[in-house]
Symmetry: C2
Subunit: 183 residues, 2 copies
């Protein structure tokens, strides 16, 4: 997959360096990675503003994105796993996908650390997993809002970027964790 612009992910430790919001052009590589072009670039820009920046920030979009991702991942798992998958299995798989570490890894994959706007006090610091995870959630909240409040857009984009098949469905196919019989 060709990367359009943006810094490199390879090499040394990433540090936060941005104290100003991204331009439309600077958002393009992220949109390319998402496979989704925002109608309203402002909401994506807002998703990338850490509360330390001091003005409007991504906290509300993080809150929304957390719920939206939870539902999208639940829906994807509900459809992907066979009807005899237990709710315990569904729950455990979801926990793996929606925990902070997974979200932070997703943020790194999208290069969010290069776009995250922080207050001066955070400049030059290594981003925490929590900061990355919150920005990741906020991007999904923004995508959800931008797509006209249809969760399906989040599902489509998320499942293309993070196919459940890689981990979840394969594990089930191996007969790992499937209960037999009724409740």
């Amino acid at each position: 997959m060709a990367l359009l612009g943006g810094g490199t992910n390879g090499g040394g430790t990433l540090r936060l360096s941005r104290c100003w919001p991204a331009t439309d052009a600077e958002l393009k590589p992220l949109e390319f990675k998402l496979g989704y072009s925002f109608r309203d670039k402002a909401i994506l820009r807002l998703a990338l503003i850490h509360p330390s920046f001091g003005e409007m920030d991504n906290a509300r979009l993080t809150w929304l994105g957390d719920a939206v991702l939870g539902a999208a991942v639940s829906d994807l798992l509900f459809t992907a796993l066979p009807p005899n998958a237990t709710t315990e299995l569904l729950h455990n798989r979801r926990m793996e996908l929606v925990r902070q570490e997974s979200f932070a890894a997703g943020a790194a994959r999208l290069g969010l650390q290069e776009l995250l706007v922080v207050g001066k006090a955070y400049e030059g610091q290594v981003p925490t997993a929590r900061m990355l995870a919150e920005a990741f959630e906020a991007v999904w909240g923004a995508l959800y809002e931008d797509a006209g409040l249809h969760l399906s857009a989040v599902k489509v984009v998320y499942s293309r970027l993070f196919p459940l098949a890689e981990t979840t469905v394969a594990a089930v196919a191996d007969g790992n964790g499937i209960a037999n019989g009724s409740a």
Copy 2:
């Protein structure tokens, strides 16, 4: 609002009496209350089968519905509350709406106790708040699936039945819990 069929909600304590799945005709009053006609009645029927029944049950739809309701309510609050509403306020309002007691009350309002299918051991018993809340979640999971995986249907139906304005928006308009200034 005219009630179509079904038992009455008034008077004495409600007890569970159903050990057989509802017919399409018996589901009509619920569909009428929801303002939504299911394309696939079987998924609504499944949503009303308590695990004590012993065969296919509503556990997976409950699991899905919980996440879907969480996202739908989050979305409705995100849109309804002003941009300066704090995430703490959003969180607290959501907690009020998605807790077991609220779901059980919603289930009673929809008359789910009259449709909930239980095992013989539960016949004649008073339904617990948890049983009602889980059936309530399962109905939303079913609605979400039936509507073609669009969360918007859940939002539209839920907000018509349980308008946020009644409690949430009014409280905010009174200046209750809104933070001033930036994070």
